[in-house]
Amino acid sequence: MVIRRRWLWLGILLLIVAVLLSLGTGRVWLDPAILLRSIVEPEPSLAWLILSELRLPRTLLGILVGATLGLSGAVLQGLLRNPLAEPGLLGVSAGAALGAVIAIYFGLAASFALATPLFGIGGAIFAATLTLIVGRGGTLMMILAGAAVSGLMAAGLSLALNFAPNPYAAYEITTWLLGTLSDRDWNQLALAAPFILAGWACLALTARDLDALTLGEAQAESLGVNLRRVRLLALAGTAMSVGAATAATGAVGFIGLVAPHLVRPFVGHQPSRVLLPSALFGAILLVFADVATRVIPTSTEVKLGVLTSLAGTPFFFWLVLRLKRLSP
């Protein structure tokens, strides 16, 4: 118990460090003293503008998106009892990406700024509904349906790239797909936040049922778990939160896969206890990764999704090797 608490405090400390770094770093390095002063007595200085209009919404969005990916990954791994499950598994991320790309493709994004995230959320909900309808009747069915829906959405994305009206549109679509937190403002945050929070509520409701699922589906059912309800909550929660997150930032991979594994040994592997720390470390990882994209000196900014994939792949290899060692 004591060890568990200590990890929680360490997580909170790390998150605070990440947030401070995220507020301070960028093309303009804000002196911590100025940062502090502008918080204490807000005045319309350049520093304050950068902080309140750029860095703050960006950091908050980073926390929300990271926590969403961590939480959803932990819930899906618990539900499917599969260490390789991640938020993209059910087709939700691909659906959100397709929706957003459609907005870019038809030039809606140029006419009003919130078209991309709005279409993204619509795409996520569409994909989740499709997964739910096709994948009724079992966990395996749901995974297979998710794979099929992901494939369908990916085909749609390729089609959009194929028929892109001009190279610039194709470039814009590709760039968006790479995932980034830059140039996000309060409007995008305000649009995504309600969906994300509603999604979190759905996901959190699965906690106890995930514990019972440790014994397998038959025993969980005998302990009063309504499997259909758990599946529905997990899918709806993922659709809303991950859909809105992907719609706001583009595809950010690996955080949802890595965060639960990172914290699991420290909470005794109990699925319900993985949820909160996983969300916390998802947020920490994402904010740190976002800081890194700003710090790494490259001519064009490294995209967030690219960085998390680059950093996440070695972890994936490690996971595969470890699974191989553990299985007879």
Binding site: D211, L213, L215, E217, S222, G224, G268, H269
Partner: protein, 276 residues
Amino acid sequence: MTILQAHDLKVERGGRRIVDTVSLRLEGGAFVAIIGPNGAGKSTLMSALAGLLIADAGHVTLDGVALTAIGNRTLAQLRAYLPQNPRAEWPISVERLIALGLTPQLPAFGGLPAAFVRRIDTLLAQFDLISHRDQPATTLSGGELARAMLARALVSDPALLLADEPLAGLDPRHALDGVARLRALADGGKLVIASIHELTLAARYATHVAVLREGRLIAFGPTAQTLTSGLVRDTFDVDACVTAAGSPLAIVDFVAKPAQPWSAASSSGSDSTPRS
């Protein structure tokens, strides 16, 4: 008094009738051994009796109320169900694993109440698992895991226990210990239903036997009167000798029928696992 009744239960899967018109009336205080060859429909019947599988026809009642009319959680507090070869999917500790049996009783938030902690300690001691308390359940041996799972099923003190081959994989000492514990539960007024392949243990400890073959209930009654050499011979297609069934010294011995090749003797397929 717990009364579990099945009325003309029929379950079909893939066009094959797995449970065929089974009617049963079981009362608290009985330890019912369900026996039968592989593929006889034992597991499917037990899932249906546990209310985890909706029958194609017929229904099951508990104290006169249809299982489908009892809420998930209420039913979970009344009966415990242990499937064949249960597995732990995450390396949680044995103590946690057993605590999961209390899921329906637990308050929505907060830790384990003290009374439950004591109950878990008792179960750990009864099933010889004290030294494994903090061990990850995934690293237990097959027999140790089977004991931990039985403890998990019993921790909530259910009025009705359905265990599908709870003795599989146990060494002689723990098998005897486990089956004696099931009998003790029945003697305490609970209704215990277990499918058992170790016929000698069934003959010694079960108060009743229910015999399934090809989905049909071919015999049911008190062990002493029901479990006879002839019945075992007809059910399992072996030459059998049953002595003193229903007493602590009962022995069921059997050899393959000499004239018949083994493959013909066990023509039916593998044990069907229920899918819900």
